[in-house]
Symmetry: C2
Subunit: 219 residues, 2 copies
Amino acid sequence: MADEVILLDYWPSMFGMRTRVALEEKNIKFDYREQDLFNKSPILLEMNPVHKKIPVLIHNGKPVCESLIQVEYIDETWPGGNPFLPSDPYQRAQAKFWGDFIDKKVYGPTRLIWGAKGEEQEAGTKEFIEMLKMLESELGDKTYFGGETFGYVDIAMIGFYCWFDVLEKCGNFSIEAECPKLIAWAKRCMKRESVAKSLPDSNKITKFVPELKKKIGIE
Amino acid sequence: MADEVILLDYWPSMFGMRTRVALEEKNIKFDYREQDLFNKSPILLEMNPVHKKIPVLIHNGKPVCESLIQVEYIDETWPGGNPFLPSDPYQRAQAKFWGDFIDKKVYGPTRLIWGAKGEEQEAGTKEFIEMLKMLESELGDKTYFGGETFGYVDIAMIGFYCWFDVLEKCGNFSIEAECPKLIAWAKRCMKRESVAKSLPDSNKITKFVPELKKKIGIE
């Protein structure tokens, strides 16, 4: 029986992008089902009753929730070729640490940059740059976060790249001026078909943000 | 060369307890170093410069941060005997989902129960019971979260048990009345030497909370 892979997702989500990239990297065909987060579908509520959030990866009828857990699941289910995580336990722990760091420290400030104003927005911008600098220092002169191979941390972070333009406009700063190596890394990632195919155009995100603010009632 | 294992920890931490239990389960001798979180030591700042938090597991001089990552690291580094995570990718993903759920959904409300008052405290209590009920429903009639074997989700959750008494007193509710199966599970876990050895006495936590509130300036 061929695998049935369904992805419940929402196009601007940097979390959903992780799972898209991971599936593309493994050459897994999947049925992408766009979700309306302001009117959640029965399948989303059924497949992720705890968090009621996208992305949800449904493999042969069984749901896997939380994007980084999905990335690991994809790596373990389709191990052939390019593993996302190294085999050495210490290096694996380091990769997971930075994936977790992105969730805990990078995502929050982005919301303040596009969603807040004044002091709160400034604090978000400052925090965001600081966090990106930590990532840049971890990246160093390597090609990818894990070294020569595109992997787990790259997948965890790359979706934020298509939000960089709108964040820079909202917060009035330049990421490239602060973190040139990180931008060079993102451009390298964008040359991969898996990434280019999975990330929406920055302009589309820029146009989407005012719409989103209206939808959630902060504009 | 024998392994050198150091744990930077703080005795009331339910996160630190995870790592203690995991090390005990694998029969790994470790050098426990109590940390003063209100006056952080040079070794803590050096070994976890990003978050500056305990627990930090230092294995042969190299730090691993974040408790659930440590639990996986311990499982992968000392695989003999009792694996914490199942080998099946789907079951692994489910275990990681519930570990992540405990971090995202169970911990937050506990702080409101002991640290807040009035409506905020009530909201925390309500949320906490709701989250415990979700865990109880996931546990069902199984011996442990993973089935017959004590593992990852048990390790992720059990440290909260020694906080239950003080939470019940602060929030004026009974966890056993709401979640009898969860309490039976916790009592089963407490029969394991690894757990009994790693969790402080509930009374000690109850006495500690007013002290903690003074220290962080909320009393």
